[in-house]
Symmetry: C2
Subunit: 404 residues, 2 copies
């Protein structure tokens, strides 16, 4: 008699964004004339840039020609892409990351979700609270979290690291020593960043205690301030304790194209085993590579023209962030984020719960945001808005919120 993975039954509700989608659909059906503005899910709205579509067209033509057709991709990804990433994203920033330490994939979400597999089920996991739900949920599925406690809204065996206004939404090193530490900076959902000296302390501590840091840098392209690290490998010793995740989704509008990568330095050992070898084995066994045409599109992002186009897109979104940030401040909200990240984090007014504010925003302003409590109990009474919308609609949304 087959048995299910009972850890799945510990998962709370359905995935946050599915729930939001359902609520919005239901509201739209009842109010077909409502012009809903979505500043909820972190999905981009700008089309792929010319360099990217040119590269895609060219690669599609290659795929239609017997002489230039490409079948299975190399396990780690095409070297043309890994090389340019190593140069532009790492070596140019003084980070010693080789092309062979980069694993191309179809996105940071998959990699962040799958990475826990190469670690034993007995590892203690630490996450920021609030946090991107994938880190916790993928560990729940694997049986690493214990039971859910409805009273605290937390899983018994997870170490939650509170991120609040008091600590500038960056966590303190916890008293208990975790084995695996998920850090995400610039942060989703709070938009906070970690300064280099503070990140260095995390790296030093991980090396001292033998922990592994799983560093999600999906939003690094949004960093605008000087002393904020773009990669954890800017810190000394990070090659010995950190895995980094990157994404083309928010950098170059690839949410519907799917491309990301994971960096595992060859120096990174756990119990004397190279994590590089374990991840390579997983990659080779359970994955078959990102499409050739998409890897060519990724390469185009690093061309001179591609970089300019991408910069323009990011500046556009960060212009939206400024409008949201300033608009909400004018309306009397307490807000943060939005300077080095496309996310604006606001305190709900009048001590409303996050979902109460979600409903109020949806029904009174027809604006969709993301309830902070969906990211963890410490996100309660907070709310996330994203800067990925269209400029006019973003302005309109803020005007509507001001009139609420």
């Amino acid at each position: 008699m087959a048995k299910i993975n009972r850890n799945y039954l510990k998962l709370q509700g359905s995935y946050l964004f599915s729930t939001i989608g359902k609520k919005v659909r239901e509201y739209s059906e009842k109010n077909p004339r409502a012009e809903i503005i979505r500043l909820g899910i972190g999905d981009v709205t700008k089309p792929l840039s010319e360099s990217v579509t040119d590269a895609l067209h060219k690669a599609v033509t290659e795929m239609g020609n017997e002489e230039t057709f490409k079948g299975y991709a190399p396990d780690l990804g095409y070297e043309f892409l890994r090389k340019v990433i190593s140069e532009k994203d790492f070596k140019e920033r003084g980070c010693d990351i080789d092309a062979d330490e980069i694993f191309i994939s179809d996105g940071a979400k998959c990699d962040c979700g799958n990475i826990q597999e190469i670690f034993g089920v007995e590892n203690r996991v630490a996450v920021c609270d609030p946090v991107y739900p994938v880190y916790v949920d993928s560990n729940v599925m694997a049986g690493r979290t214990g039971e859910y406690d409805a009273g605290t809204g937390r899983f018994k065996d997870v170490i939650y690291m509170p991120c609040s206004a008091e600590n500038g939404f960056t966590p303190e090193i916890p008293d208990e020593t975790p084995d695996l530490i998920y850090l995400c900076f610039p942060n989703n959902p709070t938009g906070a960043v970690i300064k280099k000296d503070k990140l260095q302390k995390w790296v030093d501590n991980a090396n001292e205690k033998g922990s592994v840091i799983l560093y999600d840098a999906a939003y690094e392209a949004y960093i605008s301030e000087e002393d904020v690290p773009h990669s954890i490998y800017e810190c000394e010793g990070a090659r010995n304790c950190a895995i980094e995740f990157r994404s083309f989704s928010k950098t170059a509008g690839f949410t519907g194209l799917r491309l990301g990568f994971t960096v595992i330095p060859k120096d990174l050992k756990v119990e004397n085993e190279c994590l590089w070898d374990l991840w390579a084995r997983r990659h080779g066994t359970k994955y078959n590579g990102a499409p050739y045409i998409v890897q060519r599109a990724g390469e185009a992002v690093y061309s001179e023209k591609g970089r300019k186009e991408v910069r323009t897109q990011i500046e556009y979104y960060m212009g939206n962030a400024k409008i949201i940030l300033n608009g909400l401040k004018e309306a009397g909200y307490t807000v943060s984020g939005g300077v080095n990240a496309p996310y604006i984090w606001l305190k709900t007014p009048g001590n409303m719960t996050s979902w109460e504010f979600f409903d109020e925003l949806l029904t009174k302003a027809n604006v969709v945001g993301t309830p902070g409590s969906g990211f963890g109990p410490n996100g309660e009474h907070y709310f996330r808005l994203t800067a990925f919308g269209n400029r006019e609609k973003t302005k309109e949304a803020i005007n509507r919120i001001k009139m609420m």
Copy 2:
């Protein structure tokens, strides 16, 4: 102190195709003038068809335009693709599979590797021997197989179902009752098929015992004989016990484009839980969908023109299969497969081991094939050749083998 997943250390050698790649690279470096013909890895060589590249170009143009740009795909995949699959692959064959029971993914390898996650670690797994390595390896990683026994070449807790010339390379229902049963027909590596009456017995048995059949039908498009089922859902009761995997890789040359799907009927329950719900949760949490442009390419495969083009490609490969099958027979080899599958399965001459024959074929004929023993101990003394090569090279390979 972080701990690794020690199950990974039980994995034997490296992934079969990586080892082959390494051996061929080393031989090429030493013999730079050798013209190697690859009939080893099951990778296609024909370019994408016109319908497919047209659809890709069109979708790329959409992605470059603000009005038609697509971000994140729906969790299950786009409805335009799920609908046409449901119609053409299932309903037209009398299989009652709804569009909502189809999960679009980036390939059958990933789905076959990931599906075990929704089942408990205590499930007993049954696999054919020989078998596509992903089924066993993904279960080794999950800790479901116990230790490897070098004497038998088998994992202690896996139920191996021998497939040999005596049973026409289709397994008998084992004495021990498995919880999860991997079946792959048309089979990789043997090229064997299962007739409908025999498959019905597997379905009846699974329903009686509460087992789940994981049915890999990645090669169904190669079926040429009448009484061979294309889908397990042609059998009565399969909606209650079977998950089916499909791929565009071998059907339409998508190995480098990446597209596949998994079917989970909503009736399929284990311990009163719908497997559909569990897989949907996994899909939503750890995966972000196949690229929009690739899903449009998949849709084009089902157009009238697309189907004709794909049929022509498959006929080309099956023409190769005939050349290999007949050529090897003429040369005195014992061969099977190659009629409903692009794989030809041959008995090594003179009781050579599979790897001995691999080396002999590589050095004497400069032809690369796949050692049967790489697919399990019962594949020892067998060898797989694939029909995915170019016609002239395939002929040349067979001529060289004849002269060995």
